[in-house]
């Protein structure tokens, strides 16, 4: 991979080549490796190395942007020229926010781990083999991934801003299937040494075995005990639908104008915190602004939302450091959400439930009605009926259709252990399990 000096030199050259009044260079590079397995053998095994260089210019209140992965001088000159030419064709837009000047960033320690960066295809294969051998012994089909990656992000501009961060990550996930009944488990970490593939696999294997011969139950309202992965989907869509300033300014969000109001139950506190110990955050956003810790929900009350430079200007406030690459039509988004842990274990949630369901995670969750934050999705890879405080038997999968506010208004218990859970948006959220009452299932399957 290219080192920081090399990357900085590329950015410096582009800024020199640019004829624009303001120039920003965003460089993203990665070395990502992933082994994929199914039916107890590795079926795909990839190593990807790439660099993406993006230039944004502002000239006479006009904006232009161009991207390449070529690093030779003529290509970099062409890149700067392309962005400038695009800007010349724009109509003047006085609402464009100028590029920020030099910023100071809080250090996030331990983002890069050499062992993780150097972890080889053979290392992954050996770890996977320990899992597939165990699964074969138990007549279980294992499918999953084991990945490790190194990513660097560099953002610099002609006004003296320079931000660079390099980080590693690793993920192992597995679906264990026996007689068409699946169990699933996953672990996402900064350091590969924190992954024990067999331990993770055993969770999935147990769910698969415990899931044999499911009973059919009918849709309706249930108390649900949600493992952290099942909670992640709700938090992901909340980040998209509820906490960005643009949807508030445009009054599209259900939370528009509700800062200070009670929107969830007392036991829900949500923050965006790139610096949380197990979070995989970086200390700046995609405009180069320092990423601030923001309390979004405190004891059920909507306390704040996140801003980028443009929405902050409109709202007459400061950026919270949550800008996406500009120009951007989505507005700012929190990417490092933390749902504050409570004091219950998953076992205690089960023991306190007279009748309910234990849910592993959901599949293909999507928004039905953005204004009401109604979402739908399917249970997957482990659904169990709880009766009188005990997990009694596996049941068929069902589709839920529910509004996010209803879910978080009906939280009875919050888990004491939060984990980093991979998410559709962002770089993973810190999530505990939840016990939620009156959760609505609208249809069923026979598997």
């Amino acid at each position: 991979m290219y080192n920081e000096n090399f990357i900085r030199d590329i950015g410096t050259k582009i800024i020199e080549y640019s004829k624009a009044q303001q120039t920003e260079v965003f460089i993203y590079g990665n070395l990502s490796s992933l082994s994929r397995f199914s039916e107890n053998e590795i079926t795909q095994n990839v190593t990807q190395e790439d660099i993406n260089i993006s230039v944004r210019v502002i000239h006479n209140n006009r904006i232009g942007k161009a991207t390449t992965n070529r690093i030779d001088d003529p290509s970099l000159k062409q890149l700067a020229s392309n962005a400038f030419e695009i800007a010349l064709f724009q109509k003047e837009d006085k609402s464009i926010t100028p590029l920020p000047e030099h910023q100071e960033y809080e250090e996030i320690k331990d983002t890069y781990d050499k062992e993780t960066a150097d972890y080889s295809a053979m290392d992954r294969a050996k770890a996977i083999k320990s899992v597939t051998d165990e699964c074969e012994k138990q007549e279980i089909n294992a499918a999953g991934i084991f990945s490790n990656n190194t990513v660097y992000i560099c953002l610099m501009n002609s006004k003296g801003l320079y931000a660079y961060n390099k980080f590693t990550g690793a993920e192992f996930s597995i679906t264990a299937t026996k007689n068409k009944r699946a169990g699933w488990a996953e672990k996402t970490v900064k350091k590969v040494k924190d992954i024990n593939t067999l331990d993770i696999a055993n969770i999935a294997i147990k769910k698969s075995i415990d899931g044999q011969n499911p009973s059919i139950i009918e849709p309706g309202k249930y108390t649900v005990v949600l493992e952290p992965a099942a909670v992640t989907d709700f938090i992901s869509y909340l980040s998209f639908l509820g906490f960005g300033a643009l949807s508030h300014i445009e009054k599209r969000s259900l939370f528009s104008g509700k800062i200070g109001e009670k929107v969830f139950s007392d036991n829900i506190t949500i923050s965006d915190d790139a610096y949380y110990p197990i979070s995989q955050g970086i200390p700046f956003d995609f405009e180069g602004m320092p990423r601030k810790r923001i309390t979004l929900i405190e004891n059920g009350v909507l306390k704040g939302i996140v801003y980028d430079l443009k929405t902050a200007k409109i709202a007459g406030t400061e950026s919270t450091g949550h800008g996406l690459p500009q120009p951007n039509e989505c507005g700012p988004m929190p990417l490092n959400l933390v749902l504050k842990p409570g004091n219950a274990t998953i076992r205690e949630m089960i023991e306190s439930t007279k009748k309910g369901l234990l849910i592993t995670h959901f599949h293909y969750t999507n928004v039905l009605n953005p204004k009401e934050m109604i979402i739908t999705g399917m249970t997957r890879d482990g659904v169990f009926l709880i009766e009188n405080g005990e997990v009694k038997k596996p049941v068929n999968n069902m589709r839920f259709t529910e509004s996010i506010p209803n879910i978080f208004k009906n939280v009875e218990m919050v888990g004491k252990k939060a984990i980093l859970q991979s998410s559709f948006f962002g770089n993973g959220f810190v999530i505990p399990g939840l016990k939620v009452n009156n959760f609505t299932f609208t249809s069923k399957t026979d598997f």
Binding site: V46, K65, T67, T68, N69, N82, M122, R399, T442
Partner: protein
């Protein structure tokens, strides 16, 4: 490019690979989005790189890079070899590729106007003109316009002797208006999520007549904010092409990707109920339902000369007279259904991903109804169009889709507009309830430019041709007040 492809293939052979292919890809991309009279996003992108795939010790290895040098190619080939050797540690079945003729060929997307030759100013003028119409009413809070163009120049070579050059061109455009009144509602044209995309040139954009449709889009978005909610219940459902395309995609296309069927996607996208013992005997739909995969159809987003296995484009039935009749396959997996040739469905997202089985253009063969007759023939139904939301389970059985717009049909007449319409069903039950399909005059290709699959995640493009069709006794209005199975 031959010096680069030869270098990779020779390096792989020297170290013992039984098969190697290399894809070098140069991509030009232009995307312009306007939002409320301003630039929403604008980007002109160019990338160059290559992916090298090997079979060594009976297992796959893959590596990619953008370093276009001798050293880069050699190192990347060796990385592919290393990953292949690691894969071999766990293999139970050695990779077997079904045969395919050797080709030396060049294939290019047919087009009339090169979109990259149209001035940026002209493109922006079109979007700003649409924006002006869309925002003439203050109840429109967001007006968007979108233009996207992609040219992918590929060179494929493998150790069997094929050398194939392809230039694929794709164009897309669309507008949308979001209105706020009693509710927040969006209306799009010609389809949602960025608009219509096809393998064509700028002539496709001109044919859409965005400006002629902007006023209707605006007015429908505003009308939707005060329209009645789609009622819950069971009714006959007519799907317009803007929704039926995605119905085909999710409940037939993905369900018949052979890698999913065999469990290779079990940990992520899921598996499929359409397992291989059902081939040629499972009643997927009513006998009038014919679904044809076709990588050769003009304008289709998956219309190509060859796939990324180097297999020539083909046309075949997935569902014939209601019976499951085929799958999307690759050279690696075709033998598992006793076929001796791949259907040419193995495609990769750019140079830096390994090819995986993807839906190609998959279309519902037209029937013989006019839309007017179909509506006249429907006593108590709903007409839904333009996808807004989608969700389907991990075996592609239980689905729930929402649409931007719907109209009630009572006693053969299209009546009041309805908002927040959705429907829910089980795939084979749904397709077996199809009793009428409109004719070829109503048939159109709907582009899906953003289909996600695989780990690491890959995006692919494909189109789905269809004309409006009717499905009997479908559950609608899920999640609306009064729904018997739960109120939200």
């Amino acid at each position: 490019m031959r010096k680069f492809t030869d270098l990779a293939l020779n390096t792989a052979k020297i170290v013992g690979a039984s098969y190697c292919d290399i894809r070098i890809i140069n991509t030009e991309y232009e995307n312009i989005k306007t939002r409320n009279g301003e630039i929403g996003s604008i980007n002109k992108s160019e990338t160059m790189g290559y992916g090298i795939r090997v079979i060594i010790d009976g297992a796959w290895g893959f590596a990619s890079s953008s370093l276009m040098t001798k050293e880069g190619i050699e190192n990347t080939t060796r990385k592919a070899i290393d990953t292949g050797k690691a894969s071999a540690l766990t293999i139970r079945n050695r990779i077997k590729l079904v045969p395919e003729p050797v080709y030396e060929d060049k294939w290019t997307t047919p087009y009339i106007i090169d979109p990259f030759n149209i001035k940026l100013k002209d493109k922006l003028d079109l979007l700003y003109a649409a924006d002006e119409i869309l925002r003439k009413d203050k109840r429109i809070v967001i007006a968007t316009g979108n233009l996207g163009f992609l040219r992918e120049h590929q060179w494929f070579a493998n150790t069997e002797g094929s050398f194939i050059e392809q230039i694929l061109l794709r164009s897309g455009a669309g507008i949308s208006a979001t209105a706020i009144g009693d509710d927040v509602q969006i209306r799009s044209y010609p389809t949602s999520f960025g608009g219509q995309y096809m393998s064509m040139g700028y002539e496709m954009v001109e044919s859409l007549k965005l400006l002629d449709n902007a006023e209707r889009v605006r007015d429908e978005a505003i009308a939707l904010t005060t329209a009645d909610q789609c009622p819950p219940g069971k009714k006959d459902l007519i799907l317009g092409t803007g929704q039926l395309g995605l119905q085909i995609h999710e409940s037939v296309g993905h369900a018949t990707e052979l890698d999913r069927v065999l469990g290779m996607e079990a940990n992520y996208a899921g598996t499929s109920f359409a397992t291989i013992e059902k081939l040629n005997n499972f009643k997927y739909g009513a006998s009038k339902v014919n679904l044809v995969a076709d990588s050769t159809i003009p304008g289709g987003l998956a219309t190509i000369g060859y796939d990324d296995d180097g297999v020539r484009a083909q046309r075949w039935h997935i569902v014939k007279n209601g019976i499951l009749s085929g799958y999307s396959t690759s050279r690696e997996l075709a033998h598992t259904i006793r076929e001796n040739r791949s259907r040419g469905s193995n495609r990769a997202d750019g140079y830096n991903n390994i090819p995986i089985i993807r839906i190609t253009n998959l279309s519902l063969v037209p029937g013989d109804w006019t839309l007017e007759d179909l509506i006249s023939d429907t006593e108590d139904g709903i007409y839904m169009d333009t996808n807004r939301s989608w969700s389907i389970d991990q075996r592609r059985l239980n689905f729930q889709f929402g649409t931007e717009i719907a109209w009630e049909i009572r006693n053969g007449k299209k009546g009041r507009m309805l908002r927040n319409a959705n429907y829910q069903g089980i795939t084979p039950e749904f397709w077996n309830s199809c009793d009428a399909i409109c004719d070829e005059k109503h048939w159109q290709l709907i582009g899906v430019p953003n289909c996600g699959k695989g780990q690491p995640g890959q995006r692919a493009e494909m189109s789905h041709g269809c004309s409006p069709a009717r499905f009997r006794n479908i559950k609608i209005g899920v999640g609306q007040k009064g729904n018997t199975s739960g109120q939200v």
